[in-house]
Subunit: 344 residues, 3 copies
């Protein structure tokens, strides 16, 4: 794979500084670039690397125009990070081998499944009865589509991913390996029998309904609803190992980093983000444009956009031990402080 700078600049809608006939052979970082690498500079904090980079071409914003031109070839774009994203998409489209349409001889497709002619069903994949697979959809090797489930056009269930019975995902989605969409929500009623207390299962009668342009990370779990459906709106992006409980609703274009957990029946707005390891408790509401710091626990509703945090600051172990032990006396300290204030 080789591409001329002239063609790339035209595709990205940027201004080329340099020879349009020069070719690059890979997309890389500023740091690891060589003369055949096209790279980008979006974050001003990496500007120092620009001058010393050996890259064949750098995509930059208007503010970096002169600094980039002083170094060598450049493509100047209004939003260099977005241009870089589009470059990676084009690059991938040129280099990736797409699975052939059709059903692999060693896939299992049950009766009543409707598979579009341009869809691809991989080796050892399973498509249950009455499932619907849209045009251009790809069901990867060893992936699983349950009975009655629906996969939208151009959506890609990567190898070893799973869309459970009766669940649906819209168009242009990506579900990574190991993701489980549509396992039972965690619902039990406390009960008693002569042997004592136990849990009686609440069968989960709902499903999972996912919009268009949604990406679901590896080994992420999205549970089916107890009665109504669990819903992810268009454009939602979930990283790996994320847990979405039953009856959660996530608004458009909200993005959660790895290891985030959302408990049942939380309603989360559009354009929100959560950093890695954040926990959102159940039966609460979060409005649009709320940003949650990594490892923060959201224990009640948030009705105002903004950034919310609650991470214990780390320290060397000895300092932490002293401070953590003192934390257990904090309320008492406040009372002592009050007493002192009264005295003086």
């Amino acid at each position: 794979m080789r591409a001329r700078l002239g063609e790339l600049a035209a595709r990205l809608g940027g201004e080329l500084i340099g020879d349009p006939a020069v070719e690059v052979a890979r997309v890389g970082t500023l740091e690891a670039a060589n003369a055949e690498t096209i790279t980008f500079l979006a974050n001003p904090r990496y500007q120092a690397q620009l001058a010393t980079s050996a890259a064949g071409c750098v995509i930059v914003g208007p503010a970096m125009r002169d600094a980039a031109a002083a170094r060598g070839a450049a493509i100047v774009c209004a939003d260099p990070y977005l241009a870089f994203a589009k470059l990676t998409q084009w690059w991938a489209a040129q280099t990736r081998v797409l699975p052939r349409p059709g059903v692999h001889a060693q896939a299992v497709v049950e009766e009543g499944a409707r598979i579009a002619a341009s869809a691809s069903i991989g080796a050892l994949a399973f498509v249950g009865a009455d499932a619907v697979i849209g045009e251009g959809a790809v069901i990867g090797a060893q992936a699983h589509v349950g009975a009655g489930a629906t996969v939208g056009a151009q959506t890609w269930l990567k190898p070893r991913s799973m869309l459970g019975e009766g669940c649906s995902i819209g168009a242009r989605g990506i579900v990574h390996g190991g993701a489980v969409i549509g396992a039972d929500g965690f619902g039990f009623a406390p009960a008693q029998n002569p042997q004592g207390a136990y849990w009686e299962k609440i069968e989960q009668l709902g499903a999972v309904r996912i919009g268009d342009d949604v990406e679901i990370g590896a080994n992420t779990c999205i549970d089916r609803g107890a009665l109504e459906d669990t819903v992810l709106e268009d454009g939602v992006k979930l990283d790996n190992l994320v847990q979405i409980g039953h009856n959660v609703r996530i608004g458009r274009h909200t993005a959660f980093a790895g290891c985030v957990g959302v408990a049942g029946s939380a309603r989360i707005g559009a354009h929100c983000t959560a950093g890695g390891g954040a926990i959102i408790l159940g039966h609460l509401e979060i409005v649009d444009h709320v940003h949650i710091t990594a490892a923060t626990v959201i224990s009640r509703s948030i009705m105002k956009p903004g950034q919310y945090s609650g991470m214990f600051p780390f320290d060397d172990n000895a300092s932490w031990e002293r401070n953590a032990a003192t934390l257990r006396q904090l309320y008492q300290m406040r009372e002592r402080l009050r007493a002192l204030e009264k005295k003086t």
Copy 2:
């Protein structure tokens, strides 16, 4: 699927207020109900929704009898949440298509495996040598039962779940997709070679032993023991993405929410609960009836029943930053407070 209120009331052992011949066609929430919906009210905090619900019938407790009757048909039960749980079970039993008994032509069953006549082995499932599958058990499509493993009667290994070599699960269990029972525990001895320090593997010679009526969530991991077995007693319920280390023992009817992690050799009592994201460190003991708040880290044994918590309270980011920075001086603050107290 349609059901008459008279029949439902009889099944649930409740008193019907209203016409027994009226039919409902779905189980739903108070909020989303229509005239063909049967729903329930168990938590008094949703009482306001009762009057305005369009539900065809509401299951309520004795205290809500009059309020429900004023609105329309109702079934009055001593424990409406438990009655609802049983209703979902009956509903699911009526509507779900059970897998046919027998071994799918594209499953792989190794030599010596004993499969009960009424058990079902799904497409692309694997059953290892000498495994034992009980009566009415279901091994879902693409699921995995290792050599010498045992699956009890009526237990359901959902598609893409895994019970490792030599591990066992009792009767009436459910294992959801992606769960891995019986991977190696994390055990290494520090060692030195001429190149420096490295980790020498401790082979994990134990297995996982799971009782009856246990439910294991999607992508949850339960490691095999190093020497003795990892044990989950009867009635344990684990949500998704839970990690259970080697040689952990979990007592009867204990339930853990999503993303809980339990380190090796922890011994946890019966009837305990842990909220989402809680971490329980290893080599400690927790007695019966201990309840751990979400995102709490249990770092030493708990010998007294009760509720235990340790979650950093979240705040708007600016307030959190100030407080978190100050937290690092907390011990010092206590010393300063003491000094002041001596002075005044």
Copy 3:
């Protein structure tokens, strides 16, 4: 399986106290041992169990020589824990049935894959085009090796594990069930269209490169790099449900316990450890020999070896509530303390 103490002492390079002809039939714990059990004592805190153990033989260090000899047979080794590790390895090698070399009739191997003669490809496994499987490697039942991926000699991909397209793992590795190596990193550029803000995908053009002697736990995820590769050096050990973001680099012999999350582009040194549930944020550096306590969030670079902690201390719920509520006023308390100090 039975082994004579004389043979075991010779294999472990220890001094046998007792009759070399005596046989043991299992490796077990001090506590659960019987006369046919060989066990070990490495941690002095379990010394009390030594005197009462019914074990047929105990592996001990020189300091425990007399105490062990007073009880019965013993093997004295310089490092009893390491000796125990080696014993488990030998025991496993004697008792485990190794998969036969060759490709199972119900595996799928695509064109161009090169599989060493002594390698084993299990039932329902998938090996993509041009993948390379080394001598003695084992691809378990239902496991997945993507196109162009490389598996080193003697490496074991356990059933239902996955090594994605173009990724590589060295020799003598172990990848447990459900692990996903090579899913896309979580990379999106913020963008706008007439409907508003959305996320534009950054295609992940890198891969994952894993050294020799690496063990990856069940359901752990290691994302492929955006441009360069995500790298795990030799001897790294990751427990279950660990998340490694794109472009992370982990140094030799670093070990992470379960549920650890590492965000993108973090560079972690050699010989580090992290306890369960720790979170390491992205774009930071951690030097060699850093040890992170369980459930600690590392939010900035660590340039000095040592132990670092940041876990909220748990308490009974009522005490926690008081202290946590006060924590929100901590900065204010410091200001009040300062004011008092000025006054007195």
